[in-house]
């Protein structure tokens, strides 16, 4: 089932996929155990002449252990999934690692507005660049994304990076990712945001280091040294 | 009223009373949801106290007094039911109804003076909550007045449905308790 996942190209995607696999193994085992038991019992204890049912109420503890012990196993598996999950969660959503690379993504009906801070590294200055639905980042670098919305709730979704974050208008939400493989990845909105919701999407372009420098030079021709030091 | 289909054992407790308490439990959650939202919204931002200062504490205190008194007359009506005092039931119900209407009248006056002063429901988050919470409460008062009115009319024909005075009383006191919290939440802080 795990092969249906889109190719993972992010540094933390592996952690999420590992949790998914862990849950998948645990639940698959329970699926076969319980369904197997049901089918087996249905077959073994189908009505037959001359054989009545056994009178067991299962209220006594000595009988109830047959359901309580498996329930304890379920509890142990739950705790395991929780503890493993807590680490992955802390890594992805807990604290945003520091990085010089910042972009601001603003959702609006029905586009992503991407703002790049430009060579000075600050948003809200004259050298900011705004592109619609195009997010360009270098490979293997932590990118901090400040998420905003102009109207309703949107959700910033990068299936290949296992990143999903709703954007609440009126608040700024911080997210981050580190893409591990150059390429072009789809960036849909995954929260119903109106009639144009279906089809609201952008593209994440993950560039190799030199190609990214090239892109920066084309966009900000006047100040190539400033940005160049950041890319390294 | 003849109950053509009923149980045979004497229940320990009136069914109506259990029913009304369950209903009140759900009402606690409705007002609780509003009050919860109000508290967190208020603590999350500043400046609400200044806006609350535009409300009139004297008028609200008077209204609180009216509602507290109406609760007393309501419970006195219930006491009269216990004594089999039909006249007392009618008198105290009438007092409760009139006090309830007084509350609504004062509330209406308060609304109109606030609206005249330019504080609309849309003015700011505080006024959003103020009008919604007191409005919902006023609707509850109105429903209580109507209930009491029907009991008042019914009491004319005797006290056969008198246990309903207790049930209506539970609801009326609940509406009072809600106001006991709305008063400090909106006016005094």
């Amino acid at each position: 089932m795990m092969r249906w996942l889109p190719e993972n190209v992010s540094s933390f995607g592996g952690d999420i996929d590992a949790i998914l696999s862990l849950i998948y193994s645990a639940t698959l085992a329970w699926f076969f155990l319980t369904l197997g038991a049901i089918l087996l019992f249905l077959f073994l204890y189908r009505r037959r002449e001359g054989r009545g049912a056994t009178y067991i109420r299962g209220d006594k503890l000595s009988e109830a252990v047959w359901i309580l012990i498996p329930a304890v196993i379920v509890l142990v598996l739950d705790l395991w999934i929780d503890f493993r999950g807590a680490d992955a969660w802390a890594k992805v959503k807990g604290r945003v690692p520091s990085s010089d690379l910042r972009v601001e993504v603003t959702g609006k009906q029905f586009n992503w507005e991407i703002r790049y801070p430009g060579p000075d590294g600050k948003l809200g200055t004259a050298d900011d660049l705004q592109l619609d639905n195009e997010l360009h980042v270098p490979v293997n670098q932590v990118v901090r994304v400040t998420l905003k919305s102009k109207d309703v709730i949107h959700s910033f979704f990068l299936p290949n990076l296992r990143l999903k974050q709703d954007i609440l208008p009126g608040r700024e939400v911080e997210a981050w990712f580190q893409a591990t493989k150059p390429g072009r990845y789809e960036m849909p909105c995954s929260e119903l945001c109106g009639f144009g919701h279906s089809g609201m999407k952008g593209w994440l372009h993950v560039h190799p280091a030199d190609e990214y420098q090239q892109w920066v030079r084309e966009r900000w021709p006047s100040s190539r040294q400033g940005e160049g030091s950041k890319g390294s | 009223m003849e109950a053509s289909v009923a149980t045979r054992t004497a229940p320990q407790i009136l069914p109506g009373k259990v029913g009304v308490w369950w209903f009140l439990a759900s009402e606690i959650m409705v007002f609780g949801g509003l009050i919860s939202s109000y508290i967190v919204a208020r603590l999350a931002s500043s400046g609400w106290s200044a806006e609350a200062a535009h409300l009139s504490v004297p008028i609200a205190s008077l209204n609180t007094l009216v509602l507290l008194t109406s609760s007393m007359t309501m419970v006195l009506a219930f006491g009269a039911v216990g004594r089999g005092d039909r006249r007392g039931v009618r008198t105290f119900l009438l007092c409760t109804i009139l006090l309830g209407l007084t509350f609504l009248g004062i509330k209406a006056y308060e609304y109109s003076s606030e609206l005249r002063a330019g504080f609309m429901p849309v003015t700011s988050p505080f006024w959003n909550f103020y009008y919604t919470m007191t409005g919902l409460h006023a609707l509850h008062v109105l429903a209580g007045v109507i209930t009491n009115l029907s009991l008042f009319v019914a009491a004319r024909r005797g006290l056969r449905n008198a246990h309903r005075v207790e049930l209506a009383g539970l609801y009326w006191h609940f509406v009072d308790v809600v106001w006991i919290f709305l008063f400090p939440l909106l006016y005094l802080t």
């Binding site: 639940t27 609440l168 | 045979r8």
Partner: protein
């Protein structure tokens, strides 16, 4: 007054009144809990047809985007959003709740606890008519200018808070109004259920002799009553935002969209158990009867049910892991959410253990009960993916979630509810349903159900978002499109698979084999009344209860069942 009213004269022994009621009082404005239960059933079935047709249009659009839906017409993006919104609302609030709570609760509670009617029969009638009004308001919202509500069944603000964001004005207001009416109806119903079970039980019917279904209905009613308040408050605020122009949930005016989500899910998640628990109860009633064996671990199921109810109030934020809420809240909520698997595991294991050592009869209700158990297991297991905060990041708001909740909720209504209908139809209408048609119905439903909803998990893992009208607009979803076509074909199959049931229902109502009082040889109290029970349910004497509800194959008697109301001294084994 001909019908009973508030049981004012508690303690007085009253006879079933003999007078005949006219047509209107018998079938339409009845206060008889059994007739009201049937009214709920037919209303729920009718709304299920509506919801099913919406599902058909949704599925067609997804499989063959932007082609005309046969028999329906072209579905634009606005229409599509309205379709998914109305499908969800209809199915959860106007199908699942009316059938599982309204129909079975009203029909069975008095019969199973040994009462002649509900505690408040006229309130009961009012609650049905209120629901009918709510249904009509909901249906009418399709026809107002601007169309029906299109902000999702969760109605997230600010999309839902300002008409300009959706372009829907009155449709969404009516949608909110329909909810308000529906909540009022089920508040009345819940109060009635609780009061009835608390004080109208037959002599000897202690709480630990109540059938499991009664426990589940009781728990569901409590959970509903205590969770819906904050959403009612939220709905009032949302309506104020829409009509009066306030800004409770609109950031420009100082409001906060996240508040709506908290208020919604504080109710929204417990609501899942409001629907699910009665379904578990329905299956749990059928299993012991057809295994001829006591329900395994009766008390453990009750304790698990109560644990689930308590936990259900502290799990709601698992719907909001990626909503932008405080990330520190995620793991505590993830923990409580996954913890709910323990009480549910106990219920499931108890039902499986009931099969062990039984003498199993494969009747249609039994097939549906086992079907529910199996599908519910899948739903529970896939829930772990959603409940784990990090896994949720990827599967949230994808078809994985859609697949998951159809396995839990739809399996509850379809398999649990149908197990109930096949099981109690003889008691409800005095006629048997056709077994052959029933079995055809079951197998077709089982196959098409799985073919429809299982692949949705795969789509979800692949990243396909919920509520998108056209998957072909996304390059990464285009390779998955054959799966969408497969699901659509299966879904149409699932809808068609209900035809044998409808034929069976109509045919058996008119000409089915007459049912005796206890065709399944079951031990609970309702089977001691005639089929169908008369007004007042029993004759002069209310049954007296001597034992628990599941005494099958007990050693004391030669017969393989011992009804709850049979005094053993009077009939030595």
């Amino acid at each position: 007054m001909a019908e009973s009213a508030v049981a004012a004269g508690a303690g007085e022994v009253v006879h079933v009144h003999p007078e005949e009621l006219g047509f209107w009082r018998t079938y339409v404005f009845s206060t008889d809990h059994k007739m009201i239960g049937k009214q709920y059933l037919f209303l729920g079935l009718f709304m299920a047809v509506v919801g099913g047709l919406l599902a058909y249009a949704i599925r067609w659009q997804l499989a063959f985007p932007d082609t005309e839906v046969p028999g329906w017409g072209f579905v634009g993006p606005e229409d599509y959003n309205a379709l998914v919104t109305m499908h969800g609302t209809t199915m959860v609030f106007f199908v699942a709740m009316p059938i599982l709570l309204g129909a079975f609760g009203n029909f069975l509670i008095p019969l199973m606890i040994g009462a002649r009617d509900m505690a408040f029969p006229r309130l009961n009638r009012l609650s049905f008519w209120t629901l009918l009004g709510g249904s009509l308001v909901l249906l009418s919202s399709f026809f107002v200018p601007g169309g029906a509500a299109s902000a999702g069944w969760t109605g997230y603000a600010p999309l839902s808070a300002r008409p300009i964001y959706t372009g829907v004005n009155w449709g969404l207001n009516l949608w909110l109004l329909a909810h308000a009416i529906e909540f009022a109806s089920f508040l009345m119903g819940g109060v009635n259920f609780l009061t009835t079970v608390m004080i109208m039980r037959a002599p000897g019917m202690t709480f630990f002799r109540l059938p499991i279904l009664i426990w589940q209905l009781l728990t569901a009613a409590v959970v509903f009553l205590l969770s819906v308040g904050p959403l009612i408050a939220g709905a009032i605020m949302l309506l104020m935002d829409r009509i009066a122009g306030t800004s409770f949930f609109v950031p420009e005016g100082g409001g906060d969209p996240l508040l709506w989500q908290h208020l919604f899910w504080f109710f929204g998640h417990p609501e899942v158990y409001v629907v699910l628990l009665p379904a578990v109860g329905l299956a749990a009633e059928a299993l012991p009867v057809f295994c001829r064996k006591p329900l395994f671990g009766y008390r453990w199921i009750i304790y698990s049910t109560l644990t689930t109810a308590i936990l259900s109030f502290i799990v709601w934020a698992h719907h909001m892991f990626v909503s932008g809420m405080d990330p520190r809240l995620a793991m505590p909520f993830s923990f409580t959410t996954i913890l709910i698997s323990v009480p549910f595991a106990i219920m499931v294991f108890a039902m499986i253990a009931t099969l062990w050592g039984g003498s199993i009869r494969f009747t249609t209700p039994m097939l549906f009960a086992v079907g529910f158990l199996s599908m519910f297991i899948v739903g529970g297991l896939t829930g772990i993916f959603n409940g784990s905060a990090p896994a949720n990041i990827h599967v949230h708001a994808t078809y994985f979630v859609v697949g998951h909740f159809h396995y839990t909720l739809l399996s509850g209504v379809l398999f649990g509810g149908l197990a109930g209908i096949y099981f109690w139809f003889p008691k409800m209408f005095g006629r048997m349903l056709n077994e052959t048609l029933g079995k055809i119905h079951f197998w077709l439903t089982l196959i098409t159900f799985n073919a429809t909803f299982f692949p949705m998990h795969l789509l979800g893992l692949g990243g396909m978002m919920r509520r998108i009208a056209n998957p072909m607009q996304y390059e990464f979803l285009q390779p998955l499109q054959p799966l969408n076509v497969f699901i659509t074909v299966s879904a149409i199959g699932l809808l068609l698979a209900q035809l044998p049931f409808l034929i069976n229902l109509v045919w058996s109502l008119a000409a089915g084999r007459p049912a005796e009082a206890n065709p399944w040889e079951a031990a609970t109290l309702e089977w001691s009344a005639p089929s169908p029970p008369p007004h007042g349910n029993w004759g002069e004497a209310i049954p007296v209860v001597y034992r628990g509800p599941y005494e099958y194959s007990p050693p004391e008697v030669a017969q393989d069942w011992l009804p709850q109301d049979r005094a053993l001294a009077a009939r030595p084994g």
